[in-house]
Each structure stands twice: as structure tokens, then as C-alpha cells.
Amino acid sequence: MSEHRDEHLDLCAGYALGSLDAADRQRLEAHLAEGCPVCQAALGDFSLGTMMLAASSPPAAPDPALRERVLSAVRATPQSASPEVRGAPEAPSRGRVIEMRPRRPAVGFGWVWAAAAAALAVATAVSWNAAGRVRDQLANTRGQLVQAQRELEEERRWAAVMNAPDARVAHLAITPAGIAELRARATYDPRTRSAVLVFENFAAPSGKDYELWALRGAGVASLGLIKPDASGRAILRLENVGDPNELAGFAISLEPTGGSPGHVAPTGPVVMAGKFGV
């Protein structure tokens, strides 16, 4: 039996890769034919390395119809009755079978694939989670965008009220019942019957609410409570404020919390009032 030398491992690598020159191949086959456990084990490793090299090819799939073409051709093709060795340029010479890995289980590429895929599963899960986060953020951002678009649309609509060419403006004046700091201004667009009202210093005393009224002809109609922010400022945007032929102006009363009972008419003192063009 020829003694195992390190150079045999170089030959095993070239053999597995299918790149040995004829002389080297014959030399290695002669060595293998005598049974070298070291080389046999190494061949198994190099064979797996070669499969990994093959798997580095860019992923691609043939035409799905190829499968049926192959199977049809197979059905029409008789098999060889006797064993043949085909398509293996590095196949050992006939007569001696060279075992590539007698002491370890042989491994198919499917397993290679599965092992590599399993090793990647964690990374995949991480990317999947990351992708999920990105998707959530995207959905969130989309939601914000839609919201911003709605708000912008709303702002445009109300800006149109403020900028309407025939808009009417009422500066509300403080009555003797009101405190001196109150400021209120109303802009009304007769075409859309919408109004924008701006209030400043409208923090109501404890237990009280300011209520806004439309002055319509001889009567009044409640337009709701004025709920200022912490700085006492409030902006009301109101639709269907009133018929331009009837609406004369606005008034504000100081009511118990929740407003005038029934919201029919002011029950508390009127603190501000104003008519258009006055």
C-alpha cells in the first residue's frame, strides 16, 4: 500500500473539484484504490466544499415547463439494464470502487441546503422582525401623511373662509359685564356659511364656561362652548353658522359649566358682542 503523504490531500481537492490533470488523477486513483482512510475522509470534505462552490452560482430557475418536458422525455426513454458509469470525468477506473467516506454518513446537497438554511433562520427572523418594524413605521408614516393631508385640506378650506372676497368680519366688543382682557374676532363667509372665530384670554372662571351665540334676525342660536387652551386661546371653526340674510353678528355669555341650560338663550351675563361691519 502506498503511504499517505500530504500532497495526496492536494490531489484529493483537485479530484473533488474535477480539475486534476490526467497524470495526477491516475496517481491519486492508484493511491485511493489501495484504501487510504485519510484521503477518503478528505474527499468527502472537498466534495462538500465543491457543492458549496456550485451553490454560489446566482440563483436562477428554469422555465417551469421544463419539468414536464423532462418527465415526458423520461417516460419515453428506456433505462439501461446494466450498470454504467456516465458523466463522471473523474470517475475512478473500472474494477475498483473507491469509497469516498466509509465511516461517516454520506450527505446529500438537500441536507447542505437545509443546514445552511437553518443556520440562516435566526438571521432571517431578525431581518423579518426588522422588516416588520419598517413596515409598521411605514404604515405609521403613511397614516401621518394621510392625516397631514387631511389637516392641510382642512386648513385650506378654512383659509378660504378667512380669505373669501366677500367675507364679513366682526370684532366683538366687551360689554360692561366682561373683563377687559377678552379679545374675539369672527370671520364669516356668506357663500359657504362657515365662520372662523378667534378668542384670546378666554380662561373661564371656575365653575363657568363661555358660550358663543349667533345673532340671527330677532333671535339667537347657540354655537357651542368656547374651550380655550392653557393660554386662554381658542379657535372655533363652524359650519352652518347661519343664513347670510339673517346672521348679524355674535355674542358671548358667561354660563354655568356646560353652558346655558337647553342652549336656547343666554342665562348668564353677555360679556362680548359684535355685529359685522360695525
Binding site: 465543491t50 457543492m51 418527465l71 469516498m100 446537497f109
Partner: protein, 185 residues
């Protein structure tokens, strides 16, 4: 049943004339052999032809498969690669006779029909290849995908034959090490 045992069972069924066994192997290994054929031939039509001829050869020669010579996967890969290289050489020599140049390597767009696992494995192996010394990688790729012998590779790279041999060995071992060792116990 391990993957290898399932493969062996398929070959036994093929040897008994069961076409469904070939269909099973086709589904399992065409994702491995088609990209190799495509990379060698740079033509989808040629690669499909090679894949079809390879499966026919495997079908006809099923009785000749000997598990002691290597795994079913290695056998299938060897059949497809050598057929692809044969066709590549004949096409290349015809081109040379007609004064044409070889086509450029195919661009590598992401093929949406390939599986996620396939793309990940391929990507991982490509990254591992990028980790090899450039010469090691070049030696492996030229030898395997262009079908050059080690002498031819040495001449092409203007490197000593002994160096080409040791680069081949180191490179394949690095790729082998990508796979978990514990599975072998």
C-alpha cells in the same frame, strides 16, 4: 429518514423504473444544477437543454449509480457540470472558428422565481467566497466553472502548479467549513 437516505431511496425507485422518483429529485436538485449550467453556458436556452439531457442521462444510467463513490447530489452535479462544459467547449470552438467572441457573463438580476432559502444560501456562500484570498477564489471558479485543469489554471494565472494545488485545497476547505461540523458525529 435523512436527506441522503431519501435521495438513495429515490435512486432505488428510479432503478425500478419509477418516474415519480425522478420528479422528486428534479424538484430537489434542479435549483442546484440549473444555476451551475447557466453560469457555465451564459444562456438560459443552453442551460435548460443541458439540464434536460442531464436528467435523461441520470434516468438511463440510474442502475450505474454507486453510493460508495459519492452522494446522489454530487453525482447529479457531476453529470450536469460535465455536460454543460462539453456544450460550452463545443459552442466556444464553433465561435472561435467563426471569429466571434464569447458572450459577456450574464447580468445577475434577482430571479423572483427562486426560493428565499436558495437566495440566502447562495448569498452566504458568495460572501464566504469573498472571504477567500482572491487567488484562491479565482482558482476555484476558473477550474470549476470554466472546466480548466490545474495545469491550465496555472498557465492562465501565471502561477506555479504547486501553488494552484494548495490554493484549491485551502479554498475548498474554507467552503467546507461553512457547514456545521456537529452534523457529522
Amino acid at each position: 429518514m435523512s436527506q441522503h437516505e431519501r435521495d438513495l431511496e429515490c435512486v432505488r425507485r428510479m432503478q425500478a423504473g419509477d418516474e415519480r422518483a425522478l420528479a422528486e429529485l428534479y424538484d430537489r436538485y434542479t435549483p442546484l444544477i440549473y444555476p451551475v449550467a447557466l453560469r457555465i453556458l451564459r444562456s438560459a436556452a443552453d442551460a435548460e437543454e443541458v439540464v434536460q439531457q442531464s436528467w435523461l442521462q441520470v434516468w438511463k444510467g440510474a442502475a450505474g449509480y454507486d453510493p460508495r463513490r459519492g452522494t446522489v447530489a454530487a453525482w447529479l452535479l457531476t453529470v450536469a457540470r460535465s455536460r454543460a462544459l462539453d456544450l460550452y467547449r463545443s459552442v466556444a470552438s464553433r465561435r472561435r472558428a467563426e471569429g466571434q467572441v464569447d458572450p459577456e457573463p450574464l447580468a445577475r438580476p434577482e430571479d423572483p422565481t427562486t426560493s428565499v432559502a436558495q437566495r440566502q444560501v447562495s448569498e452566504r456562500v458568495r460572501k464566504a467566497l469573498e472571504g477567500l484570498a482572491p487567488q484562491q477564489r479565482q482558482v476555484l471558479e476558473i477550474a470549476y466553472f470554466e472546466g480548466l485543469s490545474q495545469n491550465e489554471v496555472a498557465a492562465r494565472l501565471n502561477a506555479p502548479l504547486g501553488t494552484v494545488k494548495s490554493w484549491t485545497r485551502q479554498g475548498l476547505m474554507r467552503l467546507r467549513e461553512l457547514l456545521p461540523q456537529k452534523e457529522w458525529v
